[in-house]
Amino acid sequence: MDVEAVRRDFPILEKNGADGVIYLDNACQSLRPRAVIDAINGYYLTTSACSGRSMHRLAEEVSRQLDQTRAAVASFLNASRKEEIIFTRNTTEGINLVAHALDVGEKDVILVSDKEHNSNLLPWQLLTQRTGAALGIVSSLDDNSFDLAAFEKLLDDRVKLVCLGYTSNLDGVSIPAREIVKMTHDHGALVLFDAAQAAPHRRIEVKALDVDFVAFSGHKMLGPSGTGILFGKYPLLEQMRPFMVGGGTVSSSTYEGCEFLPPPEKFEAGLHDYGGIIGLGAAVAYLQRIGFDAIERQELLLNRYLTEALRESPRIRLIGPAAPELRGGIFSFHLPGIDPHRIALMLDQMAKVMVRSGQHCVHSWFNKHSIAGSVRASAYFYNTIEEAEVFVRCLRKIEKVL
């Protein structure tokens, strides 16, 4: 991959040097290439109509593009059929959908890890409060990686669902997905992966993994804000009750009841962000063109550099395992006693370096470890070593001064 050439696709990266920004907050949202922006604009400029409900040619064109996007996402995930793809607003909505649509009883147990994003913790907390089911927490190993042994211990026949972040937004650590799915299925339970931080960075093959549900967001993988995908195995989706209901979810209704459409329509209530979904299709196409091998290679190159350059820093406490290979594009750290927001603000002021600071919606983990928060630099394939160097240089200065 020619990084310089790729960067030219991103309007925000057009400015160079002191005028340009160094965007290392990709775990929050990625930047968008022109192809995505054009696709969104294309919808508003040329079709700008409803999908499905109306019969005219503009509506037909929108329906065709949406269908095409659904098929493209299905192929992106290597799903069995495109009807397994549900358009959502984001990862959070996908997870909440499952939490409301799945039958869970008071004898059931739901397992999550001890470092889940609130979006993959709170829906299950509320579900267990609603149903009387139990919530089990799988503790991580000391280096924050997934503890298969601890997981196995908690896994019994009462477990109905295992919900895990595929890649953690806290430290970039990924879980052994294949083993987890296998072990879970062996106990007759289902698996949901929160792939918000995985889908943008690695190939997820749902068929090969045999995973039951996968939720992710478009905006972390070059797509428009407020777009997301929930994958669910078709037979499961068929059995599940709808989450939100209304227009677009039924074939007919009377004053007494209604007849729901099959998945995915049953779960896609109301008018959707058509421009956004078409943009998401363009993002998927763009990622496939770049290829996940190249993406992973560039992220590893950057994380290796960051890890090596900051290894000797006396005050920097890295979160997660020492080996950069295990942390994807994320370098998350804290300086004991120093407010992480201060570091982030200073980085921005010093060289327009944009990072995320705070608890990254993983409050539970920070509370457990009594750490105020961290600074998280999250790289993507369009980041360069030169940018990483600026980040390191600024950070070293900050470390000396604070």
Binding site: D339, H341, R342, I343, L345, M346, L347, D348, Q349, M350, K397, I398, K400, V401, L402
Partner: protein, 322 residues
């Protein structure tokens, strides 16, 4: 402390830019929380500190370290400076309103509200350098016999005394507003003509002669003379026309104007005026205050009726032109 100082500055900057306005809002929130001893949730002070540190560190790590360690102390110093300058600025504004100068009555030092110093400009009467030139503090009406000079609204309680000359541009600026102000506020108005420019002695004599014949016409003549182009003031033809305009006979008046006794009287009057030790025109006396230079109309109004003169009604406030 930092929040308060920042609030003061950002409120001013906020007048010009929305960006600063929202920061000022954050600063205000922070101040309100500080005074109620709650933590500043907007993190405003922390945010600003970090941004400042981020800027300073690019220039000097040492300075950034110093700033980081002593931020609260520096914020205090900054606050005191801001407070000091705010008080100073408020004082300047007040003084400008009341006296027309930022630094007090008749002070010529720089004033942002009157950058060219127009409110203190005078037509200088001193010839050459004097060893101890008089200052505003030396000016007085004590020992000056004002009864020799014409008075408008003689029944008025307060009095405005204007020393000026027909041809002096700064006198020209304020003659009409002052006369109008005196009428609006029921004050006596005396005009003490001191022909600084030698070329206006004809006007001085003409005025004296008209005054002798008819006081009301004298004031009308003043209006004509102040409205005329300065170069016309010593032109006998113009003087004749002015007399005609006033319905006076030039044959009769011309003799008076050329009478050396009248010139002598004008000279004596000038000697009388000189007793005030004035050094430039216009100089205005109201009560025991003296105004050197053409002040805005409100300054004279305040001297007559106090800071809230407008509450007492002022038919002439329309003509506040400066």
């Amino acid at each position: 402390m930092f929040c308060i100082a920042a609030l003061l500055i950002l409120s001013v900057l906020g007048i010009f830019s929305a960006r600063y306005r929202s920061l000022a809002k954050d600063a205000l929130d922070c101040v309100l929380r500080r005074v109620t001893l709650r933590p500043c949730i907007t993190g405003f002070d922390e945010k600003m500190k970090s941004r400042i540190l981020g800027r300073v560190i690019n220039r000097s790590e040492r300075a950034a370290r110093f700033l980081n360690r002593n931020f609260e102390l520096l914020a205090w110093v900054f606050f005191i400076l801001v407070l000091g300058s705010t008080v100073y600025a408020a004082r300047g504004l007040y003084l400008f309103y009341v006296t027309g100068s930022c630094n007090g009555l008749n002070q010529e030092s720089f004033c942002v509200f009157d950058p060219k110093g127009e409110n203190n400009e005078v037509t200088d009467i001193s010839q050459g350098c004097k060893e101890n030139p008089p200052t505003a503090a030396d000016l007085t009406l004590k020992g000056v016999d004002l009864s020799r000079f014409p008075v408008c609204n003689p029944a008025g309680k307060k009095e405005i005394v204007l020393i000026g000359c027909y041809g002096c541009s700064y006198t020209r600026k304020i003659y009409a507003p002052l006369k109008e102000l005196a009428a609006a506020r029921g004050a006596r108005f005396r005009f003490l003509d001191y022909p600084v420019k030698v070329s206006t002695t004809l006007s001085a004599r003409l005025a004296e002669c008209v005054y002798r014949r008819d006081e009301a016409r004298y004031w009308q003549l003043n209006d004509i003379l102040f409205a005329a182009a300065p170069e016309q003031l010593d032109d006998p033809e113009f003087a004749g026309k002015a007399a005609m305009q006033l319905g006076l006979d030039w044959g009769d008046l011309g003799g008076c104007v050329e009478d050396p006794a009248v010139q002598a009287l004008v000279d004596r009057r000038m000697d009388e005026i000189a007793k005030t030790r004035f050094y430039g025109t216009p100089t205005v006396f109201i009560g025991n205050q003296v105004f050197v230079g053409p002040k805005p109309r409100r300054v004279y109004a305040i001297a007559l009726d106090g800071l809230f003169y407008w509450l007492k009604g002022d038919g002439g406030s329309r003509s506040e032109g400066r």
